[in-house]
Amino acid sequence: MRKWLVEPDFLVERDLDRCINCQVCVRQCANDVHYYDEEGELVASDSEHCVGCHRCATLCPTKAISIQEAPLQFRPNGNWTAERIRAVYKQAEGGGILLTAMGNDRPLPVLWDSLLLNASQVTNPSIDPLREPMELVTFLGRKPDRVKVSAAADGHVRLETQLGPQLRLQTPIMFSAMSYGSISYNASLSLARAAREAGTFANSGEGGLHRDFRPYADNMIVQVASGRFGVDVDYLNLAAAVEIKIGQGAKPGIGGHLPAEKVDAEISATRMIPERTDALSPAPHHDIYSIEDLRQLIFALKEATRYGKPVGVKISAVHNVAAIASGCVRAGADFVSIDGVRGGTGAAPTVIRDHVGIPIELALAAVDSRLREEGIRNQASIVAAGSFRSSGDVIKAIALGADAVYIGTAALVAMGCHLCQRCYTGKCNWGIATQDPTLTKRLNPDVGTRRLTNLLRGWSLEIKEMLGGMGINAIESLRGNREHLRGVGLGDRELNILGIKAAGE
Amino acid sequence: MNYLIVGNSAAAVGAIEAIRAADHDGRITLLAAEPDHTYSRPLISYLLAGKVAGERMSYRPADFYEAHGVEAHLGEEVARVDPAARAVTTAAGHRFEYDRLLLATGGKPFVPPIAGLDTGGVFTFTQWDDVRRIESHLAEHAVRDAVVLGGGMIGLKAAEALMARGLKVTIVELADRLLSTTLDAEAGAILVEALRCRDAAVCLQTTVDRVLSRGGMIQGVHLTNDFEIYCQMLVVAIGVVPNVAFLAGSGIATRRGIVVDERMRTSAEDVYAAGDVVEADDVLLGEKRPIPILPLAYRQGFVAGRNMAGLDECYHGGMAMNSIEICDVPTISIGRTTVCDNCSDEGCEVLVRRDAKQGIYKKVVLREGRMVGVILVGEIDNAGIFAGLIERQLNVEALKPLLLSSEFGLLSLDSEYRKHMVSGPGIEV
């Protein structure tokens, strides 16, 4: 049956006064939207397959192309929006699960925008970060309950307590787990290199560590997920830290699926699976059905790495996240990563992405409060994830109790991603979420590295400015310091969970 | 150091540029038989055709001698070389001494013994003076018909120029096709067709055996096939031979041309030679022979200049190649293009592509998987890549399906070769 009910999402408009028929758009669109009409000797466009990635519009040297949302095709309806109707048509025609990618795009309230930061006036001086030292260095890992020091006869003080393994971050921002396979070689390489240049960490994701990225392993956290792809003792020992992936904010409770066509020779070798076979991550770890099981895996990994590396657990922010996080810490996790409902993905069922999980702001506050109440906050670091769009979001997360944050979407955007949400098609025109060699070329890893490094630098400078304004000269003095946050437009319940006062209080 | 250069064309200029790049102080003296500033000999046909003006004839800018510190004696034809005394003597009796001497006297037109050639209206066509003579002939006489004897490069360009001047031209060529040394019959036929379209006549497999004249002026020519062609001028353009007559008695070894080694040294100490006057290595034949083409003249001159200035550089041999556009049909031939036509040797192979509609004819000659020659008619782009492949004698077996296509380019070649060809790591793969 002809799929005649599904109309295109976008309308490609070409300003013929500006179009120079250079065909750059034709060559750049992997979806074959633009074509050269030999007879008419001009470039034309067919909107049907446009995904709205803006590759053509960006590269068009005369800015002749604009991508519009397709004009209203349905009778206006506040409930049955065009998007809903379209989704029903698609499913009525295809009968399958609708897929999407990147983070939740529903207009959920973003609480970061309801939180405001404090600054010093008169009674306590602010600090100018250009004149005075400002410390962003952050250590991730288990901190002792108390420290014992001894004073030698010569007056030197020595630390007697032995500290567990720590990750040293120059800035409290890391790159989220994005597997080689879900993103391209060049994108992975850019992340690894930028992490090294900025003195922070990238996360391998669950797809193993390509041999070419092993030189960057000192700045990489490796994941052990339900599929156990690419996990062997070398993988664990090369990395700076190990993260057990239980869940992902974009798709809590479900597994992953890298389609066979993306599993080429390199990915097959990296994941340690046969070429051109589906890489299926089960929904649960089949050896983890309890906190005790989790503890076994944590300690198995600690044994495998001779207690030399922090081992963390990544969970998605779900309803009882605080209790789960507490269990993770008690199971021996040196850090707990919490991924909120707006976290991204390379592929997920739309309905899961859009409707499952809770926002990171509330989850983070709940976890931090819970661990404090239980007196175990020192036993693990908290890494918050799930859509940090600016340094403002980052610093608010730290004030809410995070030790550091993971950025995924922001990193991809820095590399050129335009959030078209079609990662799962493998036809990323920006060369990021694809394995097609003609497309992966489009991301020059030198450019990717530079842009990521610039982003981290910019955000770090901004964080220093904001810290200085608050009269704080070290990021750790802000951690969990909720006095520096005030809420606007929030109800009592949210304020309580966030543990902050309303603006004006 | 006292350098003496005899000659004023590509080889001489190449040598001067090489010497000056290496030696700022040495004295360079140049002797030239012709009175003109260094000019481009191949441009004489363009000059005659009216496509370029006199001031555009210069091969180098007007300040060339001055900028390169050259003391140029123009109009001084060398009559004798005395290597023992390290001196040359000119026809005017002037004597010039040297520490290093370059002989770059080029070629002179070959004129066969034809009865009646010594009449008015008969010309050769290799230098500016020939054009001046033809111009005055055209000015003084009512010339409507011209015969060009020789269907080679010079003959065809002369014919084209005369056609541009409104003359009815007949080309007479002894061989069975035009450009017989570089083109095959099929390519030659395309040129014949193009010439005939422009109203020129071409007579093949015959030659002029008698010039008909009256009152000291040409009236026509008689051909060996007993035809007679009425004409008011004849251009004899059969070819050039190395200009070595002045070396008689000098002791400098010559065969067809001056014999040189890979450093362009002659048999006499500190005497070098370069250009159309020498016979140097032909990389495809593996023997020495004169290849009178401008690119090799410049390169040989340059190599000679480097060696004269005390550097050490070898000339690695050259091969025949020519580009000629006749009646808007561009033609390039490189290397040995007819060698395999009648050859039953198993290692030989000829690939041909014809596209009459677009006027394309392309032919590649391979021997044992290596290119030895190519003819390109109509579509000549990327010809230099073929030249490189022939010169380096690379195995192109794998490229055979691509060689003749319009898409053939650097990209078609092995990535290692690409890297090498773009001088250093030019294209990273």
Binding site: - | F302, I385, G409, G426
Partner: protein, 147 residues
């Protein structure tokens, strides 16, 4: 001297280099005018070669010992003594195609400007040639490299 180098593994085949080369060598230097009204008589000096996944942009290599200069019968091709750039003077050129026959990389073309050859001049007067400046993936670089 600084030369242009192409990174084949990064060339995305968009041909923006060709567009900007043409604009740079146009009279108007305005992209829309150049690409519409002037296009038919300007040759892009850089050409993208493409076959499957392999693409790269090629322009004159400005060789140390240029074969085109050797072969140029009119003296139209010269080396700038100060910069080392191999220049082509279209006013002197008569379109004999000897340079085209000699260039081992195929970087010289029959130009649209008239019956003359066309080749890269490294955008005389610009700090960075237009093709390099406008390559969206930095697949072209302009730098000094030891040989």
């Amino acid at each position: 001297m600084k030369r242009i180098f192409a990174k084949e593994h990064l060339c995305i085949g968009c041909r923006l280099c060709e567009v900007h080369c043409l604009v740079q060598h146009s009279k108007s230097k305005r992209i829309i005018t150049a690409m519409t009204r002037e296009k038919s008589h300007i040759t892009p000096r850089v050409r993208v070669q493409e076959s499957g996944q392999v693409t790269f942009a090629l322009q004159c290599r400005h060789c140390e010992r240029p074969r085109c200069l050797e072969a140029c019968m009119t003296g139209a091709i010269t080396r700038d003594p100060k910069t080392g750039i191999i220049l082509h003077d279209a006013d002197k050129c008569v379109g004999c195609w000897m340079c085209l026959m000699s260039c081992p990389v195929g970087a010289i073309q029959r130009g649209r400007e008239g019956h003359v050859a066309s080749k890269c001049d490294l955008c005389q007067g610009l700090d960075v040639p237009a093709c390099v400046e406008n390559c969206p993936n930095e697949a072209l670089v302009f730098e000094e490299r030891s040989r």
